[in-house]
Amino acid sequence: MSVIAILIIVSLMLAGGFLAAFFWAVRSGAMDDMHTPALRILSEDGDEPLTKEE
């Protein structure tokens, strides 16, 4: 039965890793603009580079 305890703790840690990834995404601005990426896709042309490589 103690196996369950270990399993739960490990899976929680894994889930916690995902939560940390979520925090990182929010902090780096992924959620700031949900609207423009949809428009950007429409104007993409497969051949030419989108933006200048920084």
């Binding site: 039965m1 369950i4 305890a5 739960i8 929680l12 889930a15 916690g16 939560l19 979520f22 925090f23 929010v26 902090r27 959620m31 700031d32 603009d33 949900m34 609207h35 423009t36 949809a38 428009l39 950007r40 429409l42 104007s43 042309d45 989108l50 933006t51 200048k52 920084e54």
Partner: protein
């Protein structure tokens, strides 16, 4: 799903069939076209932009959308943006700068479509010093990185202006962006709550099936983990509710947040006690779920408001730079550098930046933005000029008496003055309900506890808390935001933009509608006014063009467009505008005068007696004191006014106010009917008084105007609707802004808001039913974690789904109603 956010484009009210459309801006070319290769353009400006883009390999711009450009009126005057490089301004406009590389975020109101996004993100092709750029479409912002040494900020702005995307630079730019931090905070709170909710739910499953009693150690472990996961939810995710509840207590103002906070505390406290004392299961799944759903509601609300940018306060109204008169000459300086005692030059159409004393010049100040009074006030040297007034006439020199921030404009524009709904005590529906809801719940809980105290005392406390838990008004709190948010989106799709959700409730209570005539019911005809008299030479047309550029009067704008053969504008000396009468100035050493017959006669020009129906709307021209001819700029009624009036008459009392004379009465009566109240020759203050009179008689008034010279009336009314041909210019006194071509949508909007409020009421009833069922369980002492876990999400989701779905259904387009 892709909503074109409305931008500053003139809406073609008259469709000119057969006229070729400009390849760049898409507007009809009227009489004149300029060609380049296979394409035609309406003006040299459009063709220039086309050439700039084609040469830089950006011709794809025209493939992505038809007529995607914006008409560029004139090349920016050299040095106009130089002040941006000033060391006191530059750092505040840049997000980042390390000496070589710099990044700036600029607001470009002209962004309106996919092609714009593509073009602006390919800006690097226009100049080698420009690096990556990124557009934020809903906010109409561009974030651009560039090599500052090779291309200073002022040149970047010049470049954007030259292709038609002039940035809107104002004091607001210098304020910084805190809104982003708030939005991100909501996401992290939501993430924590969702994370905890999912895991705690899983861990609660054994309790649902009654298995937990068999394995006490595992039960203890699961409970401990659930408790641990709930702590950040309690402290971090729910923190907004703690703050709001604390404010409720401090201000003695009861909003829905207080019963929610009580419910949260009850839930967590009860769970904590159960788990620690009785080795029980607790209600942590309900707890985390509750917080999660509430935050989802907030997120949805925010998403709806993101699209509508009504957040203009006085800072965005003010320009960023002014002309300061110094010992060495006139210099364009940033507005923040002004100090008391500075001498500033204010030209025609420019704003008084702060309270000042008039030093020299013929001042005629238009305070319509502040007081709604469109009649300019004449001032003599030595008199006080208030901030926010606009000069109508020649150039002035003024001496500042106050700092920009501390002048009367700031105090005038303070929240209270313009947040009328709060000031009028119009409580939102939700808060009105919550006022009796909390005491009711406490009463029921006490009664139930008292009953159990008599029947079986061990249950008393448990029942008390259970009632508090199950009565937590999660559904109640979310109903109004969701329903009203849905209504806002429906209206946004119809191009009607509301200030916020409270306007929906205000709209539903309206019983009287007042229309302003000029600019609202009428529109300037697209046809260029013809000149009656000997044809004007190009030199004369150039002179008239130059002269009218100094005036913002609608007649001047109409004449400007009629000057087809004019060249570039030239200098005008001794410019003077007499409000409501005419303008004059000296061009090419000749004295030009444009105005009404009466005024010109008073000036000594020989005018034959003029009679005729439209004698009053003729604009006469005199050169060197001799009468030369006239134009008759037409204004006509919008096409759908008759139908609009017919649709509104049945339900609402209508009235029409006009600053014009009675001669329009017959036409208006045909459109509106005979029993409609009509007032003529009304001044802006008169309009305001009329509305106030109606309100004192107990009526709820909606005012429909153009927002320019009826700001006061719009502010006074319960709902102020600004009808504009160009949504960039509106007064903040309005609650709703709609495109001129969409005036016919008004009855539909009113109907939708009435229905939305009815739906909100129905949703309240629905959530009360859930509450009653829940209280039934709780009072009997039968509120197990399972029951709570089912009831709470069920009630929230179903009530919200009902509210949103019903509003969307009410707002759907029926084919026969346009």
């Amino acid at each position: 799903m892709l909503e074109q956010v409305h931008a500053t484009r003139p809406s073609p009210d008259a469709r000119e069939h057969g006229a070729p459309r400009c390849h760049h801006c898409g507007l009809p070319c009227a009489d004149r076209t300029i060609g380049a290769g296979d394409h035609v353009f309406c003006c040299a400006g459009c063709r220039t932009v086309f050439e700039i883009l084609s040469e830089s390999g950006l011709a794809r711009f025209y493939d992505l959308n038809a007529g995607p450009g914006t008409r560029v009126s004139a090349a920016p005057a050299a040095g106009r943006f130089e002040y941006l490089d000033d060391p006191s301004i530059r750092p505040r406009l840049l997000d980042f700068s390390d000496g070589t590389l710099a990044r700036a975020t600029l607001r470009l109101p002209a962004i309106h479509c996919v092609a714009c996004v593509w073009l602006l993100e390919n800006l690097f092709k226009l100049h080698p010093a420009i690096g990556a750029s990124r557009v934020n479409f809903p906010r109409r912002e561009l974030t651009v990185t560039f090599q500052e040494k090779d291309l200073p900020l002022s040149r970047v702005v010049e470049l954007l202006t030259s292709i038609g995307y002039e940035p809107a630079l104002s004091l607001a730019n210098l304020a910084g962006a805190t809104e982003q931090r708030v939005a991100r905070g909501l996401y992290t709170r939501l993430g924590v709550a969702g994370f905890a909710f999912g895991n705690v739910m899983l861990l609660s499953f054994p309790a649902y099936f009654g298995l937990s009693t068999e394995e006490p150690r595992l039960r203890a472990l699961f409970s401990a983990i659930s408790l641990l996961l709930s702590v950040p939810v309690l402290l971090y995710s729910a923190s907004d509710y703690w703050r709001a509840a604390w404010l409720c207590v401090r201000r003695r103002l009861l909003t829905i947040d207080l019963p929610i906070a009580i419910g949260i505390v009850a839930l967590y406290g009860q769970s904590l006690q159960h788990i620690l004392m009785h080795a029980g299961d607790g209600y942590l799944d309900t707890f985390t779920g509750l917080i999660f759903f509430l935050l989802c509601g907030k997120w949805f609300q925010r998403r709806t408001y993101e699209r509508l940018s009504f957040d203009r306060d006085y800072t965005s109204y003010f320009p960023l730079s002014v002309t300061r008169r110094e010992a060495g000459g006139d210099r364009i300086v940033p507005i923040t550098q002004l100090v008391v005692g500075d001498r500033v030059v204010v030209r025609n159409g420019e704003l008084i930046p702060s309270d000042a004393e008039l030093v020299s010049g013929a001042a005629s100040i238009d305070y319509s933005f502040i007081t709604g009074e469109a009649e300019p006030v004449a001032k003599t040297p030595g008199e006080l000029l208030h901030a926010g007034g606009r000069q109508v006439g020649g150039a002035l020199e003024i001496r500042l008496l106050k700092d920009v921030a501390q002048s009367t404009l700031t105090s005038l524009w303070n929240q209270d003055a313009f947040r009328k709904h709060a000031g009028k005590g119009l409580e939102s529906l939700t808060n009105r309900v919550s006022r009796w809801f909390t005491p009711a719940i406490l009463a029921i809980a006490t009664l139930a506890a008292a009953y159990w105290q008599w029947r079986d005392p061990s249950n008393a406390v448990r029942v008390f808390v259970a009632v508090l838990i199950v009565a937590c008004p999660c559904a109640l709190a979310m109903t109004a935001p969701f329903a009203e948010g849905a209504a806002l989106r429906v209206l946004g799709r119809r191009r009607l933009y509301l200030r916020d959700a409270s306007v929906i409730e205000a709209l539903s209570g309206i019983d009287t509608i007042v229309f302003d005539k000029t600019g609202t019911l009428t529109t300037r005809s697209r046809a260029r006014p013809a000149f009656h008299g000997a044809p004007l030479s190009p030199a004369e047309q150039t002179a008239i063009l130059s002269l009218t550029q100094h005036s913002t009067h609608p007649h001047s704008t109409a004449l400007r467009e009629a000057m087809e053969d004019a060249g570039e504008a030239v200098e005008v000396t001794d410019f003077r505008e007499t409000a409501g009468a005419g303008i004059e100035g000296v061009v090419h050493n000749q004295h030009y005068q444009l105005g009404s017959a009466r005024w010109l006669a008073a000036q000594g020009v020989d005018m034959a007696a003029d009679s005729g129906a439209d004698a009053e709307t003729r604009v006469w021209l005199s050169i060197a004191g001799r009468r030369r001819g006239y134009w008759a700029p037409q204004s006509r009624y919008r096409a759908d006014i008759g139908r609009l009036a017919g649709a509104l008459r049945q339900r609402y009392r209508l009235a029409v106010l006009s600053g014009d004379t009675e001669r329009e009465r017959a036409t208006l009566e045909t459109l509106f009917g005979r029993d409609v109240d009509m007032r003529f020759r009304e001044s802006p203050m008169g309009k305001l008084a009329f509305i106030r009179g109606l309100q004192e008689a107990g009526r709820r008034v909606m005012m429909v105007g153009d927002g320019l010279n009826d700001a006061g009336a719009l502010k006074q009314s319960d709902v102020g609707v600004a009808v504009s041909e160009d949504t960039a210019g509106f007064s903040p006194a309005c609650d709703m802004i709609l495109d001129a071509g969409r005036l016919g949508e008004l009855p539909g909007a009113l109907q939708l808001s009435r229905r939305a409020v009815a739906i909100v009421m129905a949703s309240f009833v629905l959530s009360f039913i859930y509450n009653a069922v829940g209280i039934g369980f709780a009072a009997r002492g039968a509120l197990s974690p399972l029951v709570a876990a089912i009831l709470m999400p069920l009630s929230s989701v179903s009530v919200v789904a009902f509210a949103t779905g019903a509003v969307a259904w009410a707002g759907r387009r029926r084919p026969q109603n346009p």
